[in-house]
């Protein structure tokens, strides 16, 4: 098997893991574990009152934008790195 086949197989496994999560839980809304964690705190200790609130909380749409921004910053750096490697290779100066 060629190297690229192993890569494809790996990516396929990733896709299967993520897609099967959706298929196996058709009616789930995929609550984040952070929120479930806070729910468990309420079960274990119903009297606990958070003593500090987030200074600022973005609305849903804004939150999506900011998460995307976070991913974009990282992806830009990784993409730049892979791109310059390729350019160097094509020019033959390793």
């Amino acid at each position: 098997m060629r190297r690229s086949h192993y890569y494809l197989l790996g990516l396929l496994a990733v896709a299967v893991l993520l897609v099967s999560a959706v298929i196996l839980n058709p009616s789930s809304d995929f609550t984040g574990t952070d929120d479930s964690g806070s729910d468990v705190i309420n079960d274990v200790d119903p009297d606990y009152e958070p003593w500090f609130e987030s200074i600022w909380e973005p609305s849903g749409e804004l939150q999506t934008l900011l998460f995307t921004l976070q991913a974009a910053i990282g992806a830009l750096i990784i993409g730049y790195f892979i791109g310059t490697n390729r350019a160097h290779k094509e020019r033959g100066d390793g």
Binding site: V22, F30, F67, I78
Partner: protein
């Protein structure tokens, strides 16, 4: 692994901040030295931070019907160890606490400890041990990344069980929420990094050979 803002008492918030602080201070010192002295490692440092930014922004669905964040800390752990990884995690956690209301300032110390210190510590110890017994690189990368991810969430469960006792029964509840959901996501993260490190070893062996020496078979 984000403990929400205000969900740790003042005592625990202070405790985890004090525990995390020395690692972060040492990490800052290491980062400064790397930036000053070693251009090749500077590239790796940028990649380490970039991966933590990307991976921890995702919220991936898991077979348990919950979703959760990967940590992305395995790569940084492998190449730079715990101190540097704690600094990277601190940066991303401040970003998320201030702009996304994910985690918080009062829980920052505890979250840095789980994501940037405890998870990476276990992963780094495993990485060193596997290097000693010559585990092949792909398996080594996969296991290191998986451990950095899953142990972060185990640590969060322990932190919450300590704060909301009785310890043992609470621990079971918190582990149930965090760990099982995280296992498939740790596998996903492990596969992605195994592929990237393999690419990196071929494309830029000059960057990886400090930590992943070229194999004898490749040189022949």
């Amino acid at each position: 692994m984000h403990i929400m803002e205000g969900f740790l008492s003042l005592e625990w918030a202070l405790f985890w901040t004090v525990v995390s602080a020395p690692f972060v201070v040492y990490g800052f010192y290491r980062v400064r030295r790397i930036i000053k002295e070693d251009p090749a490692q500077r590239t790796m440092l940028a990649l380490s931070g970039a991966f933590i930014f990307v991976m921890s922004s995702f919220k991936l669905p898991s077979v348990t019907g919950s979703s959760s964040h990967p940590t992305g800390t395995g790569f940084s752990t492998m190449f730079f160890g715990v101190g540097v990884t704690s600094v990277m995690s601190l940066i991303v956690l401040i970003f998320q606490a201030l702009l996304l209301a994910h985690g918080g300032l009062t829980t920052l110390g505890a979250n840095v400890f789980s994501m940037g210190i405890a998870g990476p510590f276990v992963a780094y110890a495993a990485f060193r041990a596997m290097t000693k017994v010559r585990v092949p690189t792909p398996a080594k990368v996969f296991i290191t990344v998986f451990l950095a991810d899953v142990f972060t969430y185990i640590t969060t469960a322990v932190q919450l069980a300590l704060a909301y006792g009785p310890f043992l029964s609470s621990l079971t509840s918190f582990l149930a929420v965090f760990t099982i959901t995280q296992i498939p996501l740790g596998i996903v993260e492990g596969i992605l990094f195994t592929i990237f490190v393999d690419y990196l070893e071929r494309a830029r062996p000059d960057l990886t050979e400090r930590i992943l020496p070229r194999r004898v078979a490749d040189e022949a």
